[in-house]
Structure formats: C-alpha cells, structure tokens
Symmetry: C2
Amino acid sequence: MESGNLLIAQGGGPTAVINQSLVGAVLAAHRHPRIRNIYGAQNGVRGILEERFVNLGQETSGNLLRVAATPGSALGSTRDKPDRPYCQRIFQVLKTHNIRYFFYIGGNDSSETLRILQEYADGENYPLIGVHIPKTIDNDLECNDHTPGFPSAARFVAQAFAGADLDNYALPGVYVGVVMGRHAGFLTAASAGLRQSAEGGPHLIYLPERTFSVDSFLKDVNSIYKSLGRCVIAVSEGIHDADGVPMIAKLQATMEKDAHGNVQLSGTGALADLLTDTIKRELGIKRVRGDTFGYLQRSFLGVVSPVDQLEAREVGEKACHFALDEGMGGSVAIKRVGQYVVDYSLEPLEHVAGKTRVMPDAYISSGDNHITDDFQNYLRPLLGNDLPIASRLRAPLVAKLLTE
Amino acid sequence: MESGNLLIAQGGGPTAVINQSLVGAVLAAHRHPRIRNIYGAQNGVRGILEERFVNLGQETSGNLLRVAATPGSALGSTRDKPDRPYCQRIFQVLKTHNIRYFFYIGGNDSSETLRILQEYADGENYPLIGVHIPKTIDNDLECNDHTPGFPSAARFVAQAFAGADLDNYALPGVYVGVVMGRHAGFLTAASAGLRQSAEGGPHLIYLPERTFSVDSFLKDVNSIYKSLGRCVIAVSEGIHDADGVPMIAKLQATMEKDAHGNVQLSGTGALADLLTDTIKRELGIKRVRGDTFGYLQRSFLGVVSPVDQLEAREVGEKACHFALDEGMGGSVAIKRVGQYVVDYSLEPLEHVAGKTRVMPDAYISSGDNHITDDFQNYLRPLLGNDLPIASRLRAPLVAKLLTE
C-alpha cells in the first residue's frame, strides 16, 4: 500500500456530530506508519480547488476533543458539485500535495462527488484511496441502518415537539411544526419520538413519502381538533402534490436552486405560513400557529444523542481502518446487528453515491398521516437513554358547587 | 388571618419553569394550618369562571416533582382579560369555594388581572389575599432583576445562536434569527450569551428598544458581510419604525389581536422572510437564510437553566410565606443582592401590574445594533454554569504548492 498524505474534508449541511467523524479519523490516522501528514481541506472540495489546507497533525489532542463535541463543520463546508474541469484541477492539487488517501464526510451529494473524483483518479492510474464517511440529518443514505447526525437532529425534533405539545396543551389551538427532509421523512417522523399517549402530540405527521392533499389534511386537522380541542402537526418541508411538485413551490414565484438543482426549502417560514393560513381560512379556527424548525434542528449547541456521538466518532475511525490497514476505498456504513448494537461495513461507493433512501412503508401508518410502532422501535435506541421526561398533573377534579 | 382554601392558576404564555413555581407553592402550602384545600384552576381565570378546579392536595409528591421539571403550564393557561361581569362571576366562584388565598403565576397581563380582581374583592370587603408569582420569558416585569422563565429561554436562544453561528461559519452567508419579545429586547440580546469573539455571531442585534431603520440595517449587514464574508443577525419580533409601527404589521393586511389588544407576532415566519428577501434584493447576496425561533424558545423540553429552576421554585414558596405566614398580598419579586445571590421581596401589585420594563440604555451598544459587556455580565450567571462550549480548529495553514 501507498505512503503519503491523508486529506479530510466535510461536505453538505453541518450536523451536531460531523466533527466527531473528523476527529475520529484524525486520531486514528495520527502517527500511522503510512501517513506523513494529515491535512484538512477548508470548505470541502472548494478548498481543494483553491488549495486551502490546514495541518490537522498539528492540532492539540485537547482541542481536537473539544472540536469533536462542537456542532457544525469545523473545516467549513460546500455545496459545490465538481464537473470535469473542476475535477481535473482538484486532481492536480491532490497529486501535487501527494495526497494518497482522501476522506470525504458528507451525504449522498458528497459521496457522488467522491465517486466522480475516484473515477477520475482511477482513469489517470493515480493510486488514490477515497473513503466516504456518512453524515446526514435526513437519514437518507442507502446501505445504512441510519446515518450519523440523524439521531441528534431526531432528538432535537423529538424534544421540540414534546415541548410544543405541552405549550399547545396550555394554550389550545392548532400548531404546525415544519421539519427538514426533502425526500425522506425520517426526521419529521422523529417528532413522535417522545410521544407518551394518543392524546399527546404530534397528532398528525405528513411525510414526503406520501402525496400531500390539502383536502385530506384539512379533514384530518378538523377531526382531531373537534375531538381534542387542539391539534399538533408535524410536516416535512418536502411535502408535495401528486405530480411531485413541492407544496412550497406552489407558493413562491422565484425559486432559489443550489448547484445540485435542489430548490431552497429551508431558511424560510413560507410553508408553515401557507398551512396555518389555510387552516384559519378553511376551518375557521382562530389560534393557529406555525414554526419552521430551520437551522436550529441540525446545529443546535447542547442537544445531542450520546449514541450518535459515539457512532460518528467510530465511522471516522473505521475509515482509517479500511483505508490504511486494509487499503480499501468505499463508503463506510452503519449496520444494526442487535438490540441495540451496531457494526460497520465498507460499501462500494456506487451503492450509496447520489442515491436516496426513503422511509419503508412499514414505518408509515396506513392512514398516511402518522408513523407506526415499528418506527418508534427503530428510533428509540438512537435518541439515547438520557432523554428528558415530561409529566402531567393527575390531580382529581373538584366538584362544582355552582350550577352552570 | 383567615383559614380557607388556596387557589393557584397559571396565566399567559408557558415557560420552561412555570411548573416549578406551581409546585413550589403547592409543597409549601401542603399541611399548612391555615389551608384546608389546595385547588388549581384549569386555564387560568377562564377555569375560575367555569369552576374547573383540580385538587392539588391529592397529587403525589413524586408526580409533583416530575411536573415541576416539565415545561408548559401544567394547569393550562389563558389569555383572557376579565372585565367587570367576568370579575363578578369569578368573585362568586371564589366565595362559594371559600377561596381565601389566590396565587396567579404570570406576566404583566396576569398581574393586572389579579390587581383588578383584588380591587373587586376589597370593594366587597371579602378577605382575599392575592399574590402574583412572576413569570415571563420576556423579562419585562418592573421591580424584578429578572423573571423566572427568562433564564431558560435565554439559554435556549444563546445555545441556538451558538449553533447557528457554527452552521453559518460552515456554509457562509447571511443568517437572520427572529426572537420573541414584543417590547423588551432581553431575550433577543441573549443571542450573544455564548459569543466568544468579535468574529463570532451574532454580529448584529436589533432590539425593540430602538427604532428600526431598513437603511441602517442594510448598511450594517453589508459592512459585516464585506469584512467577514458572512453575517449572523438576531432580530426581535417587536422591531418597529419611528412611529412605533411593528415591521411585521407593514407586511400583513389582516392582523390577529388577542384580548389584550396585542398583535400576533409569533407563530409566523413573516418577519424573517421579509428581512431575508430585503437583504437578497438590496444587497445581492445569494445565500440568505431566516429562522423564526417561535414556540421552541419558550417550552423546549430539555434546555433549562438550573438557576432558573431553583428561583422559579423559590418564588412559589415565597408566595406562601408572604401570604400564609405574614398575611400579605402583592407581587413576589427577585432582587439580585450579590454576585451571584438573589433574595425575594413582596411589591405592591400596582407597581408591577400592566407595566412593562425594557432594557436599560447601559445594556445597548452605542451603535444601537449590539449589546454591551454590562449586559453580558448581567446575563451570564442566569444561564447556569453547565453550559456547552463550542471550540474551533486552530490547526496551521499548509503552504500552497501551486501558483494561483
């Protein structure tokens, strides 16, 4: 196997634990006989293009451990998707800096970027071992039981809805919380992670795996509101009509798109406002409130799943084991092998790159507006066992003394 | 002093610790020689009107302690503001149930409600001792160093902005976070609670204590963005123009108002969307994102200041001491008597009721777009000493080998 330099970069949206993976890889590669220098590229492939590297071998271990526990992408990130000239330039930089190992921490777009780059290097007979280290709060990577970043974001969403439900109980009305997830509804489904009973919210959950119908939605909301006097609703930002047109696209005339052709769904409260306005107008309910969880759910400082932290660290370490000890490239994947135990495998890049996993039917209720116990069983161990617990008063009613 | 029943109720918006105050009062009143029964009114004064009481003396102490640690108003809340007929009816219910002590946990609207009710009872020569127990995330009660609920909400906002700043560092652009606070900017100012350096966000903070000018705002944003390549902004939902018209009112044709005449500011993403659209259009910056923190900031399950929990419990206990041991009614207030030590006083209701405290000038920077060290010194002990810490990489840059 080759000796040379190791380069690590982070791509796509940050998560609460993406730095755990970075630090896991750096600590495992440190003083490895085959590694001379450990470089970090700033802002993902964009930093490679611009030859902006930091020398991670010269970080103190104390600071590395603190950075590991910090949300956000410590190296900076990018949404760039390299084309052929971009690849050529990157390849030139890699060669010049004697990069023989490249780890890219990211989601399906980042794994696709790595696949293209690996293909290019192979075509040039350059001995590059590329490893994709999984990360995405959307939990939409193929070959994985779940992805690092998802459990912490899921925990945030579960805690947020537990609180929003208590708030809605105190001041009854309709509450709509919009959750990230373009194609996969896992994170929106996590809204029920701390639900304790059928009277507790979220009472309705709308996922991008199903067609969204405004009529059914209004019927569902009206029915819950009539029976409970209130209604808490979780909605994925990616809900769409039967033609696949996102509900939010029906709203906005000028749509912003990123380099991957994705429409901007986050960073705007438009969808929540559309839905709350519709409920007010059509159902005549006065107190209707909408929140868009936005960036809080993916980078909040201080809400993190301990399971997620550990696993995110481990996928970084495993990248080193696969690449440096076994000389193998590919995509590190998390497999659930017990209740609750995981192990890691290395998958061919093309099995993960650019693909999107969505929620299996078994996780979605037959009425298409909630999740199943199967999903709860899947989710619960990921959230960690140190979850806060909400409790309600059970004091008996006092007999009325005045006639009504 | 009178023997009879004690009634407790919760009014206004819920907080993370309002149930601590409820439980503090219940535990202190339990088996007090002057108290026969401890009742809780459901949904504040609305529950008194409708004679909906629960017998809190029959709660288990274990469940009371769990409820204390649960956000939201366990008894339910209301926004009702009693007029004279409403008061007459309430008074009749209080008399019929032999209520001699009434504790109302709430903000300035709730204290005003209590003041009106007390006035009515006094006029009828009915021996009612009413105590207002302070609560509000807005921190806008007179006579108080700060109010229970604020430190936990402030902690949420500080942690949220620390995370949002890391996210914005990873994927640079402009980020606008809209924070609750109609007239008082304390909670918005708390966005800087975990700021570590001048390069860290929030870089700009806009408070309702100052006039908001779109021109100055754009100039500020442009200047920060040009120097740092990114900009994180905290905005109060209550920002307004020179005539006092809320910025959000300029947007919405039909405004929803509550019984207190307040325009709906929360539960909509409109203000964030207005500001991000303006930045995109006027400054030509592409990546501009807005989040509205909404209900997450006041009832999130699992983010709470330990200082706040303790003090919220104590104001409930002190209400009992003042009312039951000393036979005095009024409004319990928190006084800061050391660094960091508090004590509690009982203030005349009319000194708090219906009044609004705003941020003192010493807390607002001279440029009107940030906060001062004085405010940081005021805020820091309230957040608790178990705060998460964010760390950045300090690895040195690698020399470029290719000419640019």
